[in-house]
Symmetry: C2
Subunit: 380 residues, 2 copies
């Protein structure tokens, strides 16, 4: 295994918040960064040129989904995910542990790996730490995740400790199985909300010297305060010189909380899922475009945004498209929401570099909360 | 009413096929032309910049749909359809007669107009020739259609003759009701497949001196040979110096047959509807992307096309998106299929100007048919 210690440069800290540069074979990624999610090798409704314009430097794809459909062989023959999707910037692939846990039926986990039935057609499959390394090497992502064991949200301490132990063992096996020197492999820290288990798992994984670390098993239904405390505790155990990725997070508020806790990378389906439900993330808060007041609102969606949805259309038009079931509406809102999240993270980076992250966070959260009250997003 | 006789210039004929220029207040439209359909003020899944790149000079919207949702007032306050949709080229609005006939419940037609219940919420409405003129003037389209009475496909001669008589009376009333001098109004020739009724209706409408004429009430389930014969018969009655629009047509083969019969303008949901069913219209025929052979076909969708779907992606990727239910697939296929239809019409224009339309048509139909056999589109 080739471990490049220079994959990340920490440029500046501001409190625990960090600004850095992640280096991949498909370009540098300034951090903190939000990564749009293209689970099935497509970011919902968006074309690569739009993602580039939105400022995306790195996107996510899911090894579990790509393995089941279209299959690793097709993607490998297409020149990997980059060739298949026509995306020339960085790609991170999730290993599939969480997807087996959340999507598949009849899944069984043992020290060998995951045994599961496809959520598409019920066929039986096994993922081992080694097979998932090989899978992601075939997919050709810039960053691969090790297979991890995610304990269910209601798991007791023994089950969580067992999952952490298994995740550590799988990380060692993944490390040995790796053959590609041009792909960064990140380990995933588990431990649910048992702080001692989580810290110990973090320390053990750090001793294996991965080029980056992810924080897994959080934001699965536990109290938000606990999610944030666990994020902080995990960051405590992680080396300053390695990138930190908080998996599956999140809302604008949670992204800023994660950055404050010392996280560098984020991904979430939240912006595209919101878009499909007519919910816009804007500098003035969440706007529910199904609200009657937008029917004749001829102003831009977000006055602070220059994406195509904001530059070319009005709230009234976007609201019409959503109500009329026109695909163009969800598409334009997806573009805007992803642009919003990417720029929110980029703004945090600028603030950290300028030593004013606390103010940036407070301002953004305050404006977001005000708007959220006004538009009553809970009605969706 | 201001009637501009110079809205159309016939440049060249080749047999009965015609090349011309239609002048609108949003630019010139070289004909023959295919008009993408944006029924609800949005062309399914596509943004205006993509339509421009596809070569679209004129698109369609539907007065019936826009009236019901979002309502004419919203669109008028947005600056008309052009402002609302952010489209700066020409727009033609259909009057809604056909939509009342095909979509609404409890519709009743009498000499006053249509009385119908909204297909959205069951509310009762009446369309008169005058109200539909006012509606389209509020929408601000470049070309408005008169309200027409469309007889059902199984109607007998009396019902068809009655519809033609009513359509003529309504055209006269529409003419008198018109107040905008910058909007072209086209009359619609009815008569189903009763050639004498249709010819008489055409002659009567021509005497009213509209700036353009549409051929309505065809391609509704009758034999294709009859549709084409009726198109020819109608064109026979229409003045050479006015544009001719064949409504709701059609497939590539039907578009070419219409051009051969002397038609200048076409619209159809066919290309976007095909796209949503994974059917691509290409220079080598219809390709059903659900066919297994495309799963590992890493060639461009259409070797003769330079649209973004063909330039940036492979058949394998598009097939994957369609199978995986990724909206991006239908979007890219829509872009391609619309580009294909627009370029097919543009190619016909070039061929007419060069005096080789018959060869062009024969070549295109032959290539299309070959490919269609190979890909078995009937499986969709």
């Amino acid at each position: 295994m080739t471990v490049s210690h220079s994959a990340f440069t920490l440029e500046k800290t501001d409190g625990d918040a960090r600004a850095g540069i992640l280096r991949t074979r498909h370009g540098d990624v300034p951090t903190p960064v939000f990564m749009p999610v293209g689970t099935q090798a497509a970011v919902k409704s968006l074309a690569p040129d739009e993602l580039r314009t939105s400022g995306a430097r790195i996107i996510l794809a899911n090894a579990y989904h790509c393995y089941l459909r279209p299959g690793a062989e097709i993607i490998e023959r297409a020149g990997g995910l980059h060739g298949f999707m026509s995306w020339d910037r960085a790609i991170l692939t999730d290993s599939g542990g969480f997807q087996v846990f959340s999507l598949s039926k009849l899944s069984r986990v043992d020290d060998a790996g995951y045994h599961f039935a496809s959520h598409l057609d019920g066929t039986r499959h096994t993922f081992t730490p080694e097979s998932v390394v090989a899978l992601q090497e075939a997919l050709g992502s810039d960053i691969a995740m090790v297979l991890d064991d995610v304990a269910p949200p209601d798991a007791d301490r023994d089950r969580v400790a067992d999952a952490a132990r298994r995740t550590l063992g799988w990380a060692e096996r993944a490390r040995r199985a790796k053959t590609r020197g041009d792909q960064l492999t990140f380990a995933i820290v588990q431990g649910a909300t048992f702080e001692d288990v989580r810290r110990a798992n973090g320390r053990d994984l750090v001793s294996l010297d991965f080029p980056g670390y992810a924080i897994g098993g959080l934001w699965l239904g536990e109290e938000r305060a606990s999610s944030i405390a666990m994020t902080r505790a995990t960051c405590d155990e992680l080396p300053a010189e390695k990138p930190r990725y908080l998996m599956g997070v999140g809302t604008p508020e949670d992204l800023l909380a994660g950055i404050e806790a010392g996280v560098d990378m984020f991904d979430c389906v939240y912006p595209t899922r919101c878009a499909r439900h007519a919910l816009a993330l804007t500098s003035v808060g969440r706007l529910n475009l199904r609200n009657a007041r937008f029917a004749d609102d001829f102003t831009p969606l977000d006055p602070d945004c220059s994406c195509a949805a904001c530059a070319d259309f009005t709230r009234a038009y976007l609201a019409h498209c959503m109500r009329a079931g026109e695909m163009l509406g969800a598409r334009l809102l997806s573009l805007h929401n992803i642009t919003f999240m990417i720029r929110l993270a980029a703004g945090a980076r600028d603030a950290i570099l300028a030593g004013r992250f606390a103010d940036y966070r407070a301002e953004r959260v305050a404006r977001f909360s005000e708007g959220a009250d006004a538009s009553r997003p809970e009605r969706t």
